[in-house]
Amino acid sequence: MDLRLSSEHQAFRAHVASLLESHRHLAPTATDRGLKHPKRLAWQAFLLREGLAARTVPEAYGGRGEAPDILKSRILSEEFARTGLAPPLAGQGISMLVPTLLELGTPEQRQAYIGPTLRGEMVWCQGYSEPGSGSDLASLTTRAVADGDDYVINGQKIWTSTAMQADMIFCLVRTEADAPAHQGISYLLFSMKTPGIEIRPLVDMTGTANFNEVFFTDVRVPRRQIVGKPGEGWKVANATLTHERGMLGDPSASRARLMRVAEIMQRETVDGRSLMEDPVFRDRLVALQARVYAMQANGLRVMSAQLKGESPGMAGLIIKLEGCELNHEIARLAIDAMGELGILYDDSPHLRDDGDWQQKYMYDLGLIIGGGTAQIQKNIISERGLGMPREPKSAKA
């Protein structure tokens, strides 16, 4: 066990830090709103040029073509966090579609989509979930019927984030009506400007439309827009889902979040006494701190396994379940510590941290429950991690 960085990695960190420091003036800030704000695109161009974004994407497609190095990725994210500068563009196009195309796309598809996506010129949304198939993708019903050189798509998607801003969608549709559930699905790419697409924002409990419903009525998409073969969409989507799992948050974010709660507890008072002086809240804070530090150590373990090309095993499987829960609990402590002030919202006077904790408390709950996530995660842990049997098929089904 050795948590020190190699000299190569130390040098990389120094290089990144100095690059970021010297270009600090170029970085967009929170006021530069909009996914395609010129300042954001210029910053992304700079990051791509310097290999601070898309480091491992081949140069032919706009990246730097360097070997994967999880530690360098970690260093990058730490340096962006440390300097507070805007990190590289993320979003589902960059984090999910690009790796999928690199793995399973045709040369034409790669050429057409990867570069603009990385540069932030082409924004994507994801069309997987449907109202009737929360955690059960195999049951999806959006149909794509072949008609000449096109597919004609009818159906509905839900939980589609950034649908309003997206130029394109990568979408699962049922092309083979007669095939078994998992085998009739295909993976299509098409423009969100295609006639027949209607987007309805889905307001959630935070009061914001973080997600959308997307309706397709006779949407015509050329058949060449498929990734993989017809009926292989399940396989392609699973590749994508694997990449999504790679997106799991940096556990040091939980630590930073916890430390913000500690600051709140030192700052907020009741009857002139800080919450930190209240042993009940303090005990809860330290108990949560232990969980946070444990998850951070667990994250080191996962990263080490990945660095060696080994499977992180159980340490990897439990991250989503435990990590989401932990973040939710941290937000809950923040709210409880703030007491009545913790339930303020919107632009109320006395509001703390712009209502961020209430937002987080609810949004993180959404992450825990969305599509029965916690339940599904427990199934995965018990089945893949502990070798327990799958739920037997219902006799009535």
């Binding site: 307001v203 409990m205 002139g272 009940v280 339930i343 739920e391």
Partner: protein, 363 residues
């Protein structure tokens, strides 16, 4: 020995519930939450038609001369429907005024509160725990300072204010020097206010020791009613979770047939049912003037907060992603429960009071 609601109470409960189901369905809740004060006032008028405003007031003052248990029953139905209105504020003030032993000043206010001529706002928060350096002081009959989380401060004609001394002060809400600032919480179905007092003339009800009792009674009633409100909201969340689980299918079966979902619902019921009994018991003890009433109310308030966190989350979890959306509207109850947890004393603080009351802590 009968620990159950009387026929009259059950029938009253059913009337209130029926009325609110008609008067305040989810569509109205949405409109109210979006800020439509007229819609909220319509619900208030409908409730007033049942005479609930004076439920705890003497008949001689125009009230129904019932008890806190009856107020709890009404408030549970209000929470059930996520309804707006100033029922609890009026009940709190009436409970406070009733401890002045029928002095003419107190009765005069009581009569007007019961009739609705006086719409009370209630300022208790500084008596429970001062945040953000708020505070009040009375100098030469004039009130200075500010109070947070004033109940019904927006609709109030008069403000009933617990002073640090334990006295109860009353000021005209429209008087010069009174500034009302709405506080927006996650629960937009109820409105709290911050109120600033800049040397506003205040009437202090006489009888200092009685006034201390009044403020304590007001606090107790406020706490039990907010617990009852949360109880109603929890009951709805459980019912809706069960109903949703019997509709929604996944993997070829209704999700309510999955053991994990069944057990989540069972755990909610197992926590909710004793809470209901505790709230009833506390209300009954209050009505009987039992020594145990103060303790029971503190336990009920803090326990409702803990059960509330569990049920609000678990019922949402049973709904899956739908529970997170505005479409099913479950979040209105989720937020109502969240706010009820914190106001009139967060659970840790209230448990601290319960410990002190039992002599379990010296300081």
């Amino acid at each position: 020995m009968d620990f159950s609601l009387s026929e009259d109470q059950l029938s009253f409960q059913s009337s209130v519930r029926g009325l609110l189901e008609r008067s305040c369905p989810l569509d109205v809740v949405r409109v109210v939450a979006a800020g439509d004060r007229d819609a909220a006032e319509r619900v208030v008028r409908d409730l007033d038609a049942l005479g609930v405003r004076g439920v705890m007031a003497p008949e001689a003052d125009g009230g129904l001369e019932l008890g806190l248990l009856d107020a709890v029953i009404i408030q549970e139905m209000i929470g059930r429907q996520c309804a707006p209105g100033d029922f609890s504020g009026a009940a709190i003030v009436i409970a406070g005024l009733s401890s002045f032993g029928g002095t003419s000043a107190a009765r005069a206010w009581m009569t007007k509160v019961v009739s609705g001529d006086v719409r009370p706002g209630v300022a208790l928060a500084e008596r429970i725990g001062v945040r953000d350096g708020t505070g009040l002081r009375l100098e030469g009959g004039r009130l200075h300072g500010r109070s947070l989380f004033v109940v019904d401060g927006d609709t109030a004609t008069h403000l009933f204010i617990a002073l640090p001394s334990g006295s109860l002060a009353i000021v005209d809400a429209t008087a010069q020097g009174v500034s009302r600032v709405p506080l927006r919480t996650i629960d937009a179905t109820r409105v709290f206010s911050e109120i600033l007092f800049d040397g506003v003339p205040a009437e202090v009800l006489t009888g200092e020791s009685l006034a201390g009792a009044a403020v304590n009674r007001m606090t107790a009633v406020a706490r039990l009613l907010v617990a009852a409100d949360a109880l109603g909201a929890m009951q709805v969340m459980l019912e809706r979770a069960v109903a949703y689980s019997l509709e929604r299918k996944q993997f070829g079966r209704v999700i309510g047939s999955f053991q994990a979902v069944k057990h989540m619902c069972a755990e909610m019921a197992a926590r909710l049912e004793p809470l209901r009994a505790l709230i009833w018991h506390a209300a009954h003890a209050f009505d009987e003037g039992s020594e145990e009433a103060d303790l029971l109310i503190l336990l009920a308030k803090s326990h409702a907060a803990e059960v509330g966190v569990f049920i609000a989350r678990t019922a949402t979890e049973v709904h899956g992603g739908m529970g997170f959306t505005d479409l099913v509207g479950l979040h209105y109850w989720f937020k109502r429960i969240g706010v009820s947890r914190q106001v009139f004393g967060a659970p840790e603080a209230v448990r601290g009071e319960a410990a002190r009351l039992q002599g379990w802590v010296s300081s």
